[in-house]
Symmetry: C2
Subunit: 251 residues, 2 copies
DNA sequence: TCGAATTTGTGCGTATGTATC
DNA sequence: GGATACATACGCACAAATTCG
């Protein structure tokens, strides 16, 4: 007879008490020792149960403070499609507006950064060749919901008005529009989404739990001649954003 | 002074000995007790170290047998774009051929299955309305690399030659082609990729480690009038497949 | 302001289960 | 069926973070 292990029984109990609104989102649960005593198990069994529910996004642990019922945050819908690239304005702001949130971002650009091996391969340039690197932090209502690091070959834009992605007259217009300004036509993007767990740094930047799941998207923009003009590493936390690809069917 | 915990030191040691080809892919490592004795730590410290490397795909644990150096399997490149839908032939077979592997699949169709709530919402029908459900298992060189469960409203195809996705004259032609046969034009697909961990069942079906990361894609096909005609849950294990979205840029 | 108490988080050990050979 | 090795569950000790008097 496969008897249910104690920690799963406690997890079910906690889940039940939450679903019955004994504790509502934002509430702090009793301490582990207290819960353990109540059910006649060790506090470590309670810990396992809570870890399970934390990994499922039901609970939220705060060191030194307590274990809380997670707030059901509305996720941001991030649309990724050809229609996303508008002649003007930012796709991110549009995404945010669609869910009634204010879209904003902070960026930090560094020019003449030597390309590491992986980036060089993606951009079709030699390792160590100079690039313009920009780190983004996308905010919804002031809270970070998405991270991105963008790389462009320095040669491509050197001496033009669009060298700096977030400076000059075309700041924030997006890669496609900026490249169009200097006569480069971006014809398609390739995105490679990969599931992984958030690093400690990403978790603290995004305000999510430590091992939380994210989608790491490697995106590269190409000209119609197949030349890469920009590549980016985008980190999308599952707890905060939902990703939507719209694919037209051509026949 | 941030002293490195024992289990991380062991992990580094193991990683080093693998990178120095002391053990090559497929080799079995010495038992945990043996490694522990060698470094003067408990076998449970070795276990933590091995768990870390297993989660990173470096090692592979086989219950009752031992811990092995993981074979660096070539991942299947799964392209998802508008160009994917061909007038004839299967997109999956094309993906497989591109990496020199034989593409194949097994399916199990059940007609007149009442739609659960989530599926009904995605198909825009009432909960409990009848559907045709087909479970797929996609194989590369005979080994499963991808799972999928597809749902179509029964009303849509009832009485036609294309009721069964994998039966009749249009078996395996894909949703778009089959719908075209009965005069329904599929104009676009929406895909929603979500990172999560494999369930025990999925892991055993796909031959991957238990908590391994997968991308769960919710895909829905729509007609040009915006009516959903098919929705599917696709499970793509990160260890076996890489997902590529190609996005045309329209200006 | 500071320090002690509380609470979560981490590391590690032991006992038991279970798969493989 | 027995021996071996990995997998799981649980307990204890300590560190880190927070809270509060």
């Amino acid at each position: 007879m496969p008897e249910q292990p104690p920690y799963l029984r406690i997890a079910d109990e906690l889940r039940r008490r939450i679903s019955e609104h004994e504790w509502v989102p934002g509430d702090r649960l009793p301490s582990r020792a207290q819960i353990g005593q109540e059910y006649g198990v060790g506090d470590n069994v309670v810990r396992r149960a809570q870890e399970l529910l934390i990994s499922q996004g039901v609970l939220e642990g705060r060191a030194g403070s307590g274990t809380y019922v997670a707030e059901p945050r509305q996720r941001v819908r991030v649309v990724r499609s050809s229609a996303r690239e508008q002649p003007s304005g930012s796709p991110f702001r549009a995404d945010m507006k669609a869910v009634g949130r204010q879209g904003d971002w902070e960026s930090r650009t560094e020019a003449k950064v030597p390309a590491p091996a992986e980036i060089a391969a993606r951009l079709g340039i030699a390792e160590g060749e100079l690039c313009v690197r920009t780190a983004y932090e996308f905010l919804a209502d002031g809270r970070p919901v998405q991270l991105s690091t963008s790389w462009e070959p320095y040669d491509l834009t050197a001496g033009t008005l669009v060298v700096l992605p977030e400076g000059g007259p075309h700041a924030g217009a997006g890669v496609v529009n900026r490249m169009a300004e200097i006569g480069i036509t971006v014809s398609h993007a390739v995105e490679q989404p990969e599931p992984r767990q958030a690093t400690a740094e990403e978790a603290s930047l995004l305000g999510i739990q430590k091992g939380a799941l994210v989608t790491h998207i490697r995106r590269t923009y190409y000209t119609d001649q197949g030349r890469p003009v920009e590549t980016a590493d985008i980190v999308v936390p599952a707890a905060l954003c939902e990703i939507v690809y719209e694919i037209p069917i051509s026949r």
